[in-house]
């Protein structure tokens, strides 16, 4: 099931500039601690890992747990080293994977 993602990366940056990256993905992040209306436990369904690569090099990695709110929103920073692609990958329970990428021009 494809999830919607929203990525905010500046299109242009100066070389060496520190840029902020904002990411949002639609995901229920079901904790596994809740029960449905007949008392049956709702199985856990969360995103467990988020990785960001800049031109193939890993720059940021996060392990997520149940305490992350639904629709995980993560912001972080990186140094704009060169033009290219910043790619994002989320993986989670029940074989969930989602990828997204953004282009950046560095001058």
């Amino acid at each position: 099931m494809a999830a919607r993602t929203l990525i905010n990366v500046p299109q242009k940056a100066r070389r060496g500039e520190i840029i902020q990256i904002k990411t949002l993905i639609s995901h229920i992040m079901e904790t596994g601690f809740r029960h449905d209306n007949v008392g049956k436990p709702i199985p856990r369904d969360i995103i467990t890992s988020f990785v960001c690569t800049y031109n193939g090099e890993e720059i940021f990695k996060a392990a997520l747990y149940q305490a992350i709110a639904a629709n995980p929103f993560i912001t972080f920073h990186t140094v704009a080293t060169g033009s290219g692609t910043i790619a994002f990958q989320w993986t989670g329970d029940n074989g969930f994977t989602q990828e997204a990428s953004a282009k950046i021009t560095v001058e």
């Binding site: 601690f33 029960h35 090099e57 940021f60 996060a62 149940q66 912001t75 972080f76 920073h77 990186t78």
Partner: protein, 156 residues
């Protein structure tokens, strides 16, 4: 008019009382961290000594809805190839599971500053720990008051 004044007075009293209670909670002495959080922290830091400082955990002190709480963590570090933040971990005291997020960074980050949204089940203490490239660990603690906890109605 008279009635309005009375309600206002009672509300003022109520607010004053609750604010007082909140202040009491805020200044409560550092308590022993619950075992599960301590274990989770031990798993990350090993035998290393965790010192207070360098890291700043930012959470609102009073939260209306624990289902989404904006949280940001910043570490005071030059982020150079020799001196950078390797990892940031966040833990909670009273959530059913002590881990919140574990982040791995490198000198490429430029700035060790992240933010996300978390769930908090109850009024509790949240702890952020960072690991620097020299192997030292630093921590910051924040007390948060939650009026409506994240949905965990059937806790074991």
């Amino acid at each position: 008019m008279g009635i309005g004044n009375t309600t206002q007075a009672t509300r003022r009293e109520f607010l004053a009382a609750t604010a007082g209670a909140g202040a009491l909670l805020m200044v409560r002495p550092a308590q022993a961290t619950p075992a599960s959080m301590a274990t989770a922290i031990r798993q990350v830091v090993g035998e290393a000594h965790v010192k207070p400082g360098k890291i700043k955990l930012d959470l609102p002190p009073l939260v209306e809805n624990g289902n989404t709480v904006a949280m940001s963590v910043a570490v005071d570090s030059p982020m150079t190839a020799k001196d950078y933040v390797k990892a940031i971990h966040v833990f909670t005291e009273k959530n059913p599971q002590p881990n919140v997020i574990s982040i791995q960074l490198g000198p490429r980050a430029g700035k060790a500053e992240i933010s996300t949204r978390v769930r908090l089940a109850d009024t509790q203490q949240v702890v952020a720990i960072c690991e620097l490239s020299d192997g030292s660990f630093w921590s910051d603690k924040v007390d948060v008051i939650i009026t409506l906890g994240a949905c965990l109605e059937d806790l074991p």
